[in-house]
Symmetry: C2
Subunit: 348 residues, 2 copies
């Protein structure tokens, strides 16, 4: 038996004893989790905003050590330290091969099929396609292990937003949202893409301080009614690249309004209650509105190299470390916004 | 006094005698209209779907001969044959210089300021920025003059849709809509961009025959409930480039559903009653949703060259020619869909 986190209802997740997962397909691996995380998107079901079946396992971000592999697995072996992206992919279909693993023809997600990541053990389908082997230098370094845990989702997602919004083109990048994904988008724009100027928009002073450390040149308060005017003034009419990292109607509209004609707005979270995005402005200003679901697997190796080189340390978004045993407390502190993001250490 | 078309109310436009326009700024020109057109978007106010003030002049597509220029005008002179895009631009601001004249800092539109194009004479602000001088070979050739009149809007708009949707990348392009803009998008994708395959989706057999003549490899019926499945089957999961040329919720959703993961959907008409575009699919499939308002001015010269070379003849979308005197009849036949697009010859 092992421990795994199970959803029971609104604001009710529990660590429970469940059977150990076993290899099912020859392409499976079993991984012992060494770090897992709680995601901002986990709060949607935790708060009852999106439905989830009671009894389902939770968690989609983890790194760990391979314990066992199926007969067909070729690229990972027992003892390897690995990073798992939030989406499972076969690694061989046309979408995986073009780096769009989230559209994998055989893709699925953690938590489906009683296989959540906030647990001691996880069964990994398509282990060759899904898992990335961790850089040797990361394995025993606590800071780098925290960095590694961000590559499962939050840093990969922020980087996807910055990349697809055109941060690499060199102009100004505006990031709307100071949650973990927004902060990682700032880090990607400033330190990976080396954008000319990065403006962070949020409403939490502590988080905006991290944005500044991550390379934001300016930090603005999203609750200030002058913010849009200031953004337009600072950018002489709008920025070419905007990352929308909140997902509600207000943030969508700010992102679209702050975009320069001809610019790109990428949204990287599932949109909630965005009833009427401003299609008229998208039309009149010739904007590109881009989704969204990051193919994290495609970014793990390059971002891992940037972490090992010390170019980025996205693990700083973990401002609370909690043992797996206290996973319920981890959800609670994120729900109360007293933590940006919680790192779970199953062995603690 | 000259004749101009004036809006009076739903399904009520009239040709009336009004004062001749006069030069107002040194950058103005006065142009005698030789061909004007009625646009599908004119039907929105004609049908009362969007509001318009009674007494306003109508029309935004015209070609003509320059009669008079202000003291500061340098690039056109009396006697020049010219093509006017549907948006006025100064030609010197950052947006005009980057080919996004629809976002011109001093931009405006025909019809504003008692200056509609369905008239005998038009005052052209920023004549240097706005007007393109017609190729000599076009001036006295009736077929090429019809082609020229499409460059004001409809062919430029279809071309903008095909271009920004990535038709130049060579894969399959799906065009949703068989109105004049949709047909021009087909023509651009097939004969300008030479896309590998072009699929037209519409519901009017006569228009789809023109789509086939314009280079569509396949034409599907938008009212057939099997159409989406057929598109996905024909493209093995969706096309990388989609042009949405209808502007309602049904066509938006078909366009998004038929897009391949990672693909681009460009919409080229003002969206009407699109309450809830499928943002979730845009997110999950990593689509780009791109607007829209074509910077026609940027495309006039290259498309004019393609017309003169015989590579494209977009003027075929004009299936009815009517004298300016009978402009009201022109609106009526387009409203009844008995004509795709009406060419008005003020001198007829």
């Amino acid at each position: 038996m092992m421990k795994a986190t199970v959803y029971h209802g609104t604001r009710d997740v529990r660590l429970e004893s469940v059977p150990d997962p076993k290899l099912r397909e020859a392409t499976d691996a079993i991984v012992r989790v060494t770090r897992a995380a709680i995601c901002g998107s986990d709060l949607w079901f935790y708060r009852g905003v999106v439905e989830r079946e009671p009894g389902e396992r939770t968690g989609h971000e983890f790194i760990g050590i391979v314990e066992e592999v199926g007969a067909a697995v070729r690229t990972v072996k027992p003892g390897d330290a690995v990073i798992a992206p939030f989406a499972i992919g076969d690694g061989t279909c046309a979408y995986c091969l073009q780096g769009l693993q989230t559209s994998c023809e055989h893709g699925s997600f953690w938590g489906d099929d009683a296989n959540g990541a906030q647990a001691e053990l996880v069964r990994v389908p398509y282990a060759d396609g899904t898992l990335a082997v961790m850089h040797e230098a990361m394995r025993d370094n606590d800071e780098l292990l925290a960095d590694a845990a961000t590559l499962c989702d939050v840093m990969a997602t922020g980087h996807h937003g910055a990349t697809t919004a055109g941060a690499g083109n060199g102009g100004t990048v505006i990031v709307v949202g100071d949650g973990a994904v927004g902060l990682c988008a700032v880090l990607s724009a400033a330190r990976v893409h080396r954008a000319e100027r990065v403006i962070a928009v949020g409403h939490n002073a502590a988080r905006l301080r991290i944005a500044a450390d991550f390379g934001a040149n300016d930090c603005l308060d999203s609750h200030d009614p002058q913010t849009l005017d200031r953004l337009l003034e600072m950018t002489k009419g709008g920025a070419p690249s905007i990352v929308e990292a909140v997902g509600n109607e207000e943030s969508f509209n700010l992102a679209i309004a702050a975009a320069r004609p001809g610019g790109t707005v990428t949204f990287v979270g599932v949109p909630h209650n965005v009833k009427l995005p401003d299609l008229r402005s998208i039309f009149l200003k010739n904007l590109s509105l881009r989704g969204g679901l990051a193919p994290a697997r495609a970014y793990i190796e390059p971002l891992m190299a940037a972490c090992v080189a010390g170019q980025i340390h996205p693990g700083r978004v973990f401002d609370r470390r909690i043992s797996l045993e206290h996973v319920a407390e981890g959800y609670a502190v994120m729900d109360q916004r007293s933590a940006i993001k919680v790192l779970l250490n199953p062995g603690a």
